[in-house]
């Protein structure tokens, strides 16, 4: 066994289903402290679900998820909340509070969890907004933001409490090349300067690989490949090759599981005839 302090997140033999659909079928995964780890995989394989499991919002059917040495699913509510104060999460949808402007959104966790004087809250909020390039937009309401701006605002909010671990769900979606470049650098910079541990879920393979220390590829409920970006580049795993090079043909299916197309078409014809 490795030393417990080496890995911030340890997942062992994770099983999870939604209804009858198995999302995870025996996943083992480790996130090293201080590293940037990317989780990639086809759409709908359960990357967001994995982040929610790590954050304790969903419970695994079997297996263990340890964060900072504690089993997330066994924690009492108050202990879980203590743990979450040290976790930041950027939701895929942003999840900004629509009744608060940008400034108040970013100030929200500070006001809820600290008794800092308002002047200091202001300094911190402006600092975070400056980092994502939205200091000038602080009076806008979330409905007045573009998708990419909302994502960056949510990022500023996720780092407001200076967490020790941040989970980014698709941070780059909807960003133009310039803000994308800034964000990529920002994520790496935050990680190294503040000694964070970062988990990035993203489909932007090149950008993500460039700043990741380690990559996990998930498909069909399992880890199909993992390693450093260089490892995966060189690996002969068909999964890794297809995903990293965005090839249409390979083991990664484009389609949601379904009966063969021909059968489906014929079934429609039969029921139409049956209806007559």
């Amino acid at each position: 066994m490795s030393r417990p302090e080496e890995h911030l997140v340890r997942i062992r033999d994770l099983h999870f289903s939604r209804g009858h659909r198995k999302i995870f079928d025996g996943v083992d995964l480790d996130i090293r402290r201080g590293s940037v780890t990317a989780i990639m995989g086809p759409s709908g394989t359960g990357k967001t679900t994995l982040l929610k499991l790590i954050g304790g919002q969903l419970r695994p059917d079997a297996g263990t998820i340890e964060v900072a040495g504690e089993q997330v699913q066994r924690l009492s509510r108050s202990r879980l909340y203590e743990l979450r104060k040290r976790m930041g999460m950027l939701f895929q949808s942003g999840a900004l509070f629509t009744d608060l402007n940008l400034y108040d959104n970013v100030a929200f966790p500070l006001r809820e969890h600290t008794r800092l004087p308002e002047a200091m809250v202001r300094d911190l909020v402006l600092m975070k907004l400056e980092a994502v390039g939205l200091r000038g937009a602080r009076d806008l309401m979330p409905s007045e933001l573009s998708g990419g701006m909302a994502r960056r605002a949510a990022l500023a909010r996720a780092i407001a409490l200076d967490p020790t671990m941040i989970m980014y769900d698709e941070p780059f979606t909807g960003q133009d090349p310039i803000s994308m470049g800034v964000l990529v650098k920002l994520i790496r910079l935050l990680n190294d300067a503040l000694g964070l541990t970062s988990i990035i879920v993203s489909h932007d393979v090149k950008e993500t690989a460039a700043i990741s220390d380690y990559i996990y590829l998930i498909a069909q409920g399992r880890i199909v490949a993992h390693g450093t970006p260089a490892d995966l580049e060189r690996s002969d795993s068909a999964w890794a090759q297809q995903f990293l090079n965005a090839e249409p043909d390979g083991p990664v299916p484009f389609h949601y599981p379904a009966a063969p197309f021909g059968e489906d078409l014929l079934a429609g014809r039969e029921s139409r005839q049956g209806g007559r």
């Binding site: 909340y81 809820e112 909010r157």
Partner: protein, 258 residues
């Protein structure tokens, strides 16, 4: 056989919802003491839930009072008792129509808004986001709204009754010629503080709890889609109306039954 299974299924999901509703209710109650430290949150919600409902309450109260004045006069005049119009109008409002109609209007105006707001917060992951920031949405979002509803409804009901009494006065005294002094003195003589006013207040407190609880639960338990939120909003209005009317009968039987 199939309908039996269907019946069992709906009964089961009914009791599941009932259970979830009660769990949420107790979770909200646990969050109430914390509101002492955050009065700003409650004030904000009293504005949204209570103050913004004022117009509909005042206008409805006025018309209900005017109708009571008209109908009451027409009935009383046959017995030569039109001078006791004041007591009829006041008792009807304070005991029954004030709390009940206010609660029904509250469900349509404030309850549906609460359900839609919370349902949409759920659908857009704002509640999950809050949880991930280690802020309990039940305490931060639901508890202040609950307290606001609980405090607002009795006040709204009192305003409704007061405006209604004036409405009756305009019609009875102003238009139909009931004696001014008799209207007020009959009212004062007939209305007992404990039996009538206080029982009315108890009713509106109960309705306040029930109406706000249903609205919050429906929002919090809504299926997080636009269709789910829309159905939850409808259910809030329907369930609150039924609960208020049913409870009103029970409370009336208990209070004035003997």
């Amino acid at each position: 056989m199939e309908w039996l299974a269907g019946l069992g299924h709906s009964a089961l999901s009914f009791f599941q919802r009932l259970g979830r509703g009660h769990l949420l209710f107790f979770a909200i109650l646990q969050g109430l003491p914390g509101m002492v430290l955050r009065p700003g949150l409650v004030v904000q919600q009293v504005y949204a839930v209570g103050v913004l409902s004022l117009i509909i309450i005042v206008v409805s109260g006025l018309f209900v009072g005017m109708v009571l004045g008209l109908q009451g006069y027409n009935t009383l005049v046959d017995f030569g008792a039109e001078q006791s119009l004041g007591s009829v109008v006041a008792l009807t409002l304070v005991r029954e129509l004030g709390p009940v109609v206010t609660a029904l209007l509250f469900a349509g105006r404030a309850g549906s808004a609460l359900t839609a707001e919370i349902g949409l917060m759920k659908a857009t992951e704002q509640l999950s986001g809050m949880e991930m920031m280690a802020v309990d949405p039940v305490r931060r979002v639901l508890a202040p709204r609950f307290l606001a509803g609980f405090l607002s409804l009795p006040v709204l009901a009192a305003i409704f009754s007061a405006v209604g009494v004036w409405g009756g006065y305009f019609v009875g005294v102003g238009l139909l010629g009931v004696d001014d002094g008799a209207y007020w003195s009959q009212m004062q003589a007939a209305t007992d503080f404990r039996d009538d006013v206080w029982n009315g207040v108890i009713k509106s407190l109960v309705f306040g709890v029930v109406a706000t609880w249903i609205a919050l639960f429906e929002g919090y338990d809504a299926i997080p889609t636009s269709e789910g939120v829309s159905r939850a909003t409808t259910r809030t209005v329907v369930h609150t109306s039924l609960a208020v009317l049913g409870l009103d009968f029970v409370l009336t039987a208990l209070m004035f039954g003997e």
